[in-house]
Every structure is written in C-alpha cells, then in structure tokens.
Symmetry: D2
Subunit: 217 residues, 4 copies
C-alpha cells in the first residue's frame, strides 16, 4: 500500500492509516505492507508492527549526497524494504540495478515497479525480491488492471517467469474493488499494489479489510 | 549546518549532533540551523528548538508523487525551511523558481545554493530568502572558500547585491576553521554553510562553539 | 523560428522551410532565424544565408560525451547560435550558466527560454544574448501570449530590464497571427519565437511573410 | 566505432575517419559500423557505404520535442541504427524499452549499452538487436575489458544467453590492441565497441585494419 504524497496519508494521518492496515492484516492474516513518505517512516514504524517500506531509495553510499535517500537512514528509521522505480519516480537502468544490489547487501526487500510486460521481464532479470507491474495509464483511475487488461497481466507473468521462475509478482493500477484483488491473484500474481483506492476512501479500513479478505479466498 | 548523508549524522547520531548545535547556539547567541536527512527531520525537530531545515524539497502538490518530498510533509515533521539546489542535488531552473514560490506560500524559509557568482545572481533575481554560494571544487576539502577565494566571495556579494539588495547571503565549501567563518563575515556574507568540517569532527560541539564564537566577534 | 521535431520540418522539408524563411527575410528586411533539428543543421546552413541556430547545446568539452551536443560540432555544421532551456528541453540552472559561458567563449549567440517572469529575470542576470519568455500552457495552442496575457509580457519586460537593461527580449507561445507579432513588439519585446503556427501551416511562406511585415510597421 | 565528441572525429574529420573505417572494412570483409555526432550523420552517410549509427535516440514521436533526437530525423539523414544508453548518456529503464520498440517499428538497429553483467541480462530481456557490455571504469583507459576482466565478459555472455539465446553481444572499454579484439571474440562476443583507441590514434586506419584483421582469424 503506497501512501504516495496525499495529504490524507501525511504525518499523523499516515500513522492512522498504517494502524488501519495493521488491524486489517491482523484480523485476516493477510500480508499488508505500508509505504509512507520519507519523513513519516520513523513514526509509522514505531506505531505499527506490519512491514514499512520506503517509497524510494538512492543508489548512494554514506557521505556527500545532500538531499538523497540513504539505505542506512531509512533502515534506522524502521523501513525493512523499499519501492524502486515507481512510475512517478523513474530511474536509470544502472541505478535500478545498483539499488537492487544495495538492498541485498543491506538486508532490505526490493520491490521494483514496471510499466509494461517487457520492462517487467527486464527487471526480473536483475533478481530483485519483487516486481510490480503497473500500467501508468490506469494509475489512479479506478479502472483495475486485473479487470481491464487481464491478458497483459497474464502475459507479464509468463514473460517474467521465463526469466526468473521464483520472483514475487505484484500488479497494480486502478485497483479499487475486492474482486479486482481476487482477479489479480487468479491471473498468477501474489498480490497487488494499491494507493488512491484506499488512501482517498472515506473508510480506508473497510476497503483494506475487504481487499485482505479477497486474498484469503 | 548540512548533515548530508554521513553515517555520523544519521538517525540517533543526527539527534545528538543537533543537540550539540543547539547547545553552541544557546551559549553564544549565534543562529545555527540544522539540515538532517528526510527520515530524521521529525525526531531532530522534537529533540531541539533551533530551526530544522530539509535538505531538499520537490516542486509538487499533494497527490501522485511517489518518492518525492512534499512541503506539507516536511513541515508537519517540524521543518521550517529547506535547502534547494545543493550542488549534490541540482535542479532545473524552473523547478528552483517553483520551489521558492512554494516555500513563500507555505511559510518555509528558502535557502538556494549556487556554484558560482553568476548563478548566485541568477538565484537572487528569483528572491528566495537566502542564497548560499559554494564552489563545488572546494566542498569537503577543508580548503575554505573564504580563505582560498576571497575575491570570488566579494564578487558574488557584489553581483547578488546589484540584483537583490536585501537577500541574506551565505557562503560555504571547505569551512573548517573558526577564522574561515570570521573571514566569510568580513567579506560581506551573513553566515556559512558547513558540513563535513563539523559532522566528521571528533568533537563537533567544540568546532560548532568555535564557529559560533567567530560569528559574534 | 523553432522547427521542433515536426515531420513537416525534418530533413528535406527543413531545407524548404528554411528557404521560405530566407525569402520572407530578404523581401522584408526582417531578421529571421531558423532552428532545425541537429541532423539537419548542416544541410539547412548550406542552403540558406539567414542565421541557423541549434535547438539545444550541452555544457561539455570535446571528449567522452557520447550522445551529447558539442559546441564545436554544431558550429562546424554551420550554426551561429542556439536555443537553451526550451520548455521541452529544460536544464539545470548550473548547466544553463555553463552553456551561456560556453557560447560566449565559442562566439555563438545564446537564446535562453523562460517559462515565467521570475525565471526570465533569473536568466537575464546571467547575461545571455537573448531571453525568450514562453508560458508553456500556451505553446502550440494558437492563443498568443501577447494577446492573451499582455500584462505578463509587460511584467516580464520590466523585471528583466531591472536586472539587465540591454538584453534582447523575445516572447512566444501561441503566436499565429500577424497582429500577435505586432502586439508583442508594442509590449516591449524585440521579436517572437514561433513554431507550429508556421511549421504546420499550409503555406508557411505566407505566414512568415505576414509576420515579417508586422515587424516592419 | 563510437566517434563520441572528440574534436578528432567532428565535422570534416568525422568524414575522413569514416572513410578510413570503410577502407578497412572493404579490405578485410569485416563489418564496421560508425557512430558520429548527430550533426555529422548526414555528411558521413553520404560519404561512405558502411552502416552509420546515431549515438543516441529519444523515445519521442514527431511534434513538440525541441532539442530531442527523432527517429525519422536520423533515419532521413542516413542512419540505420543507434546506440542506446551509452554509459555517458544513460537513460531510464522505461525509456530504453520505448526506444527498442521504436527502433523495431522504424527499422533501425538497436544497440543497447550495459555497465555490468546484471544490466546486460536485463537489457537482453527486452530483445534489442545488440547488447554491448562496457565496464565504465575501463572506458578510455587503454586497459581492455577482454584482457583485464575476461571472467566478467564470460559471465556476461552466460547471463545474457540464459535470457536471450540469439542476441548479438559486443563488449568494449579499453580496447586498444588487435589481440584485445581477438580475445573478445574468443570469450563469446561477436565484436567490440571502440572509441578513443582509434579516434585518438595517429593513424586510425592502421589500427582499424589491425582490428578488422583480428576479427577474421
């Protein structure tokens, strides 16, 4: 669950949202990860026991990197992994590979985002822990990738598996109904990446709970 | 005082360093600002009463900006201003102008960094609160800009004043001795930007205290 | 006149368009500059005697810069100047300043583009030969900046003149009628930056001729 | 053969260098491709019959892309392919994939550069025509990758073949002796990427001839 930079998921509200996610996870046994903004990682990680990810990480070593995001910094703040190359924060290929290596070295879970099937396969060839496929044109639309483009999801799963049989595959973009989650799992993914569908909801807990239930069927 | 991404200024050590800065500020009456990493802003701001800046800010509005730094987020975490366009995190011209406007709108202090006199004047023409001149070739060297290139500092001050008579001018790069601070002030600046000279010191408080004393002479 | 990357101004068609511009310039005495794509600079410069600009230049020295645009290369191909920081090819502030210096050193005319009044002033403070103000939201719309936002043009002229009394000021975006050109000159600019209004026209020469006439009134 | 932005391979000298390459190719039957700067593509392509590549291509369609490199433009100038993601002109992952697709659509040969074995495999998964492995730390050193790091070349070939059995594999960086070329071929590559070793040579033809001979053994 990507908190992005919504006001509804900033600061104290990030903590509340993470607690709602934790509650849904505990009640259902589903695995829910939250990815708040950098400045909120520490307080979210203190408030909940579910895994906290960063939204981005820079391929840097400690030192002269003003304004960048250091692995050691997000780790000490409580993050156990990070999103990489989200469509809203795209990176150079060599940077993605360097961040995957850095995560491996520092014990952080790497979740790399892809905008299409070929890019998904390309990412899988670098062996991150997770590849997450999200067609940018559907992000934030409420039109679920798993419903609108099931064949592209299947195609992505097949291309990725050819290159890397063991990687965890997520899909995202437009996921707003519990059935979208169930469909995504049927298509061969292990879970979904969600953001506005929950963050902007009147009652995020209710949606999260329904999504979590859908993963348990 | 820019904490950059040194391990010596990450996490719990960022808090300790900020407390040392606060102590030096309180004892001397000097104005010391600390700029920790994003993930450390909240805990540093809780621990000290001196101003806390972010090291960077993105020219974005709340919403779909995964992995970016939102003004509202750093503000809620306790930051009262931000570095902009540090030589290690350079930005497009239109982005710098957008961030300066955003800071004005959100009540954040804008401190924009420049790598040479012409760029300093260019920044001053956009009316941020502070322009900070740092020749990149001296950063981290221990060779102080105010000592090694006094004429360039004077030249910068003159060019900036022609464009903007009221802006606060800082200089930085290689500042490692108290006399470097005193010299910088004599050359017409209002203060200095420091990083490794203090962060990497065995006793940061001692150096900070000496620097703070130098500003009081 | 910016050829951008329209098919109507690529290759052989770039040569024909440049010849139409040359004809209009010769008949009216107006000064018309053409800015074709990199690969077309040489053949356009061979075909016409009016000045040819590059659409971009990189702040590099000869050597290891694969895929970048070298001053010496566009100069030998026949360019006498370059656009810099066009809204479709924006640059870091320090790069803009480095390119302006490079143009000065290599005897190339520097024309730096700005997206708003504050950015225009910022550019003027670096003393390029020309600053060109173009609000991005009007580019390609056919709604002329000089008609739709006359006050912003006047405001830009004033801000720029305070910082740099002698610089040449152009404006652009949406210029599609001869009267838009005349209005732009009345607002205090020295000319206009045009692209789609001419490139996509059925008879570019007719439009160019009308625009050139408008500058002579 | 990458001309980069050396003065020795700019303008008229680019034409002479390309002719030397053509001569070596014709005499030996070796396949030599030249990649001059954008502004030199047209005159080089007119002067020689060996294939001419661009050094870079942008993932754009015709239109509003001032300062970018359009596929149709380099094609009309005479290029039949392009380097992509050279270590001196690195691109975002999604851009690389978009350029590979664009090349396929426009009938241009795509040669994508990689900085290490994992990145090479990642590129191979996107099915360009050629992947070229060049460790950046050896570029321009005269220390040949095939001699200094034979195991990394073999490792790259193996990783790439697992993902894509049919792709053409080149290697480069520091190639300055004919034996470096022969070694590269023995390690399983189909050729080499060269630049300064030839461009900066007193007699480029002699070196090219020796390299071409080495590929024929």
């Amino acid at each position: 669950m990507n908190f992005k930079t919504y006001l509804e998921s900033t600061g104290q509200k990030a903590v509340e949202l993470a607690k709602a996610a934790e509650k849904a996870a505990q009640e259902t046994g589903a695995s829910i990860v939250v990815a708040p903004q950098f400045a909120d990682i520490a307080r979210v990680a203190e408030a909940v026991e579910i895994p906290v990810f960063s939204q981005h990480l820079d391929p840097i070593k400690p030192g002269n990197c003003t304004g960048h995001v250091l692995a050691e910094s997000i780790k000490e703040a409580g993050a156990v992994g990070t999103l990489i190359n989200h469509s809203e924060r795209q990176l150079k290929l060599s940077e993605i590979e360097a961040i995957i290596s850095l995560c491996r070295e520092k014990g952080l879970v790497s979740c790399v985002c892809a905008n299409n099937p070929a890019v998904s396969a390309s990412i899988a060839a670098m062996h991150p822990d997770i590849v997450s496929f999200e067609p940018p044109e559907l992000i934030g639309t409420g039109i679920a990738v798993s419903k609108a483009q099931p064949q592209i999801v299947t195609n992505t799963v097949n291309l990725v598996r050819q290159v890397n049989p063991n990687i965890t595959i997520l899909c995202g973009a437009g996921i707003s109904q519990a059935e979208d989650v169930a469909t995504a799992l049927k298509l061969g993914t292990s879970g979904v990446l969600v953001a506005s569908g929950i963050v902007k909801a009147k009652d995020p807990y209710m949606i999260l709970r329904a999504f979590a239930d859908a993963t348990r069927q």
